[in-house]
Symmetry: C2
Subunit: 203 residues, 2 copies
């Protein structure tokens, strides 16, 4: 295994995945999502069509491919804060997600494209929601760890799901209100949704 914690194999794999994804978005922007074929995407990404299907089950999944994990640093901090009342954990979690988003400009650009696509193509929306859901599971696991509960426990599950719902709601509005090329940030929008959520709790 090479010096870094991750072998060449894994790195290349991650890279190919990313390349297929960005190729999909680029081509969709250029020609319209449903004029784009798997063949075009594969060739743009420099792999065979058959390989495309080793990475994604379909175009929609390739378009919405996003973050699988929270970044380790802030997460460790979050977990270390230890057990607390559910409401507090929720508050900390929304804060964590917000910082995650604030610190990752490429992710935000990607998100804007994906939401824009999702508005016009039901299949993309479905794939995006599935992606959020999957991400929610990993978030729930982190929350469970902090709370000293088993993974799969309903409390962390619900906390994660509610937090992500608020985040998604903010991103949704952001993607609708802001034009594609503006150098805007979704952070204020998401903050707004998150605050609304906490207001909801307090009334």
């Amino acid at each position: 295994m090479s010096p870094s914690g991750e072998g060449l194999r894994e790195r290349r794999r991650r890279q190919t995945r990313q390349e297929i994804h960005t190729a999909t978005l680029r081509l969709a922007r250029e020609h319209g999502f449903d004029k784009v074929t798997i063949e075009m995407i594969s060739s743009e990404a420099g792999v065979s069509p058959r390989t495309f299907f080793n990475y994604f089950p379909n175009k929609e999944a390739a378009a919405v491919f996003g973050p699988q994990d929270l970044s380790p640093g802030p997460t460790a901090e979050f977990v270390a804060a230890g057990p607390a009342r559910p409401g507090e954990v929720l508050r900390d979690l929304t804060g964590l997600l917000l910082r995650e988003l604030a610190g990752n400009p490429p992710l935000r650009r990607d998100m804007h494209d994906v939401f824009a696509l999702a508005h016009e193509h039901p299949g993309v929306l479905a794939a995006m929601l599935a992606q959020f859901d999957a991400f929610g599971e990993t978030v729930a696991a982190t929350v469970a760890e902090r709370m000293g509960r088993r993974p799969g426990d309903e409390v962390p599950n619900l906390i994660a799901a509610v937090a992500l719902t608020a985040v998604r709601s903010g991103l949704e509005r952001w993607s609708r209100d802001e034009p594609a090329d503006s150098e805007d940030s979704p952070v204020p929008y998401v903050e707004r949704s998150v605050n609304l959520l906490h207001t909801l709790l307090a009334s």
Copy 2:
């Protein structure tokens, strides 16, 4: 137009839709979802394969097709209760959704099948989440009406999304814990999630 409020055309259309849906679930239970072809479904439902695609874009959508609207009576009551603090509206809404579920046994049976399918087939999960999301929009419109806010306003949107998240979380657990053929009700599960949600807000 015939005596009832709805023409023959509309009724038949709704009926065909329903028939394709139940045929899909039945065949999926019998043969496994991915062994089922559109041709099988169509023939089981008594339509041509081409007609299948007039109703649904794909197998997944046919499998998860569910309620599009809240029932009129309870909804009118909900709306008539008039403006209130967001937290109260949320509470009323979760109550409404719960009663909706409690009063509709066929829907529950359907839900169990759909969730079970979704557990094994990512594409079905994606379609189901999209279905929930779409339903969320109509719920949000109802909430907006009650609160005297424009449709699309972020407050009703978030309230609807959060409520449905809790409901979904309960259904999720129910479908995992209860075997397929038990004559159980998801209501206690959903109640549990809803109560948890309100606890979350209160802490």
